[in-house]
């Protein structure tokens, strides 16, 4: 069970890192996957900076939690993912955004996964 959990955390962490690097290197390729059109000027700076920072933090936290076996590293990742999912729901309810279930579902599931990992894969 713990081995499966470790593999899932590892895969998700690598995927987040990969996405973060994509935002840094090929933002135009990755933007459509999030329903985004690349802006210019300060907007583009925010898109690349925020998105790459978000995904790199997620990936690094997951992998640090996995390798150092310290649960504290999972908390930022859980917070980032769950608050993002919450934000998406509020965007749908309050701001007429699309209900992006294909994005919300993985965020919720991976938050839960990291919650389990924080309990089962850590020493302290």
């Amino acid at each position: 069970m713990n081995r499966i959990l470790s593999v899932l955390v590892l895969l998700s962490g690598v995927l987040f890192l990969f996405t973060g690097v994509q935002w840094l290197v090929v933002p135009a390729d990755v933007a459509p996957q999030f329903g985004l059109t690349l802006d210019g000027g300060r907007g583009l700076s925010s898109q690349i900076g925020d998105m790459s920072g978000f995904f790199l933090t997620l990936g690094l936290c997951a992998l640090l939690g996995l390798t150092l076996k310290q649960r504290v590293w999972y908390y930022p990742a859980i917070l980032l993912l769950s608050l993002t999912a919450l934000g998406r729901c509020l965007a749908w309810l309050v701001h007429d955004a699309a209900f992006a279930v294909d994005l919300i579902a993985p965020e919720v599931l991976i938050s839960i996964l990291y919650g389990f990992a924080a309990r089962r894969l850590t020493d302290k």
Partner: protein, 603 residues
Amino acid sequence: MKFLAVFPLLAVSSAVVLATEDMTSAVLSSLALDDSRRPNIVLILADDLGFTDLASYGSEIQTPSLDALAAQGVRFSNYHSAANCAPARAMLLTGVDSHLAGVPNIPELLAPEQRAAATHYRGVLGHNVVTVATLLEGAGYRTYMAGKWHLGMAPEQRPIARGFQRTVAMMDSGADNWEQRPYLPLYDRANWFADGERFNLPEDFYSSEFLVDKMMAFIDADARQGAPFFAYLPFMAVHMPVQAPQEFIDHYEGAYLQGWDRLRKQRRERAAALGIIPDDVAMVRMATTDDWDALSPDDKAYQAKRMAVYAGMVEAMDAHIGRLIEFLKARGDYDNTLFIFTSDNGSEASGPADPRGFVAGIGTRRMGYSVAMDGLGLKGSFGTISPSFASASASPLAFYKFYAGEGGMRVPLIIAGAGVAAKDTITPAFAWVTDIAPTILSYAGVSAPASRYAGREVEPITGRSLRPLAASEVGSVYGANDAVGYELTGHGVLFQGDYKLVVNQGPLGDGQWRLFNIAEDPGEMIDLAATEPQQFQTMLNGYQSYILQNKVMPLPAGYTQMGQLLRNVVRKELGDMPLVLLFTALLLLPFAVIYKLNRKGSL
């Protein structure tokens, strides 16, 4: 004394100088006077519009603005353009063959080895040709462009550097019609430029409306109101993604539930009744045309909706052309304006048979587009028509865009307005896309350059003015023995009199040369190669001459259009992928080290 002797010479010289200045003033004055008579010229280009997509060519689509122009001018029923976009635009604007002009194909379909082998195989307009805008600008015209350019994006290739004084230009092969968004993964972004600089589209953007608004603003805002203008308006309609405002789509709700075969027949009948084609033209049923009756009711409704969106996009374009015409009338410019309307090539059949399928939908899903029936045509959707409806759009012709069949090359052409004597006339005379530039120059009273322009060698215009046809002075501007050639990725054509020698390559063509009489048989059904071998051989020889004269290069081994497009997409996609993987691996490296140390118990 010597001074006195020289004096008469000085006096004569001064008199000559004064006389010359007077003459210059006189010429300038006459030009200024002529400005009230020189016509404004509006060149409107649709994108991927099929031969029978206008009501005045046999369509059920409502196109009252263009039909009104047709009623006041000449419709060409035997006008041909290139089989795809950029080569057509290069020829349209320069009057020179696409190969010589540097655009033998769109850059998206060129192989790297083609680009490397020759400077005229890069898909950008060369500086060895002069655009009609440059020539008109030099003659005192105000020159504007609003729409799709697709002839090069580098600073020296932009329309602002090719004779257009005010521009808003979309530089790619296409883009979203509702927002600034690329439609192919080949592009990092939708590349819009205004007056030569990158430009962000407004929030309330819809392509046809926006382009006409821009053109009207250009015309209105120019301080040189006394000078005539040349307005080039290359619409994005009806290139994919096929998108239209809901109110236009609604006009065609349920209109296509009878299917593509019925529509193709209806259009043939209407075109024949209008006199666009001969009666009872035989027509092929393309191998890519599906069996409508085999579709489920839901699938029929979906396919009909796709075509309704297409029709809505055509009608929206027409409505905005109508706005431009009303604007010109309100300004008092209309009566002195020449209108030329045409399409860059025939109807587009690159849309999948059913874009909702898993494989067919990979591309659009990856781009974040919806192909669902609800909302099709609106913002966020990716509309196309299938090859089946594309064939109906080209009725009664064979093939479509990217092929050298008549369906890919024969398109509507309307010339109307100032200086066009013929009213509500249809001419069956052969005309070719390189004829448009010399036609415009003829109406403007501007000479075409021979072999030099502005101190550099240039390719001379090979097209012929269609003005005598529009004036009903002649039956044709080409003689029975005049040959016009064309090549695109191994598809080859030679027009001569009523004959057309043609070869279409795969996947739909079989690579066999055929000979047709396209005056009697525009559907290209009766191959005359065996029955008229002398004509066939003469035209084969003529095609070889065309290849040599226009520097047509052989195709790379194994080249196919779709294969090359996919290779270019993959190359572009993978171009940065090693870098992404490298950075990711670098980030992972410390974790691998920590993991190793953990295993050894060092941590």
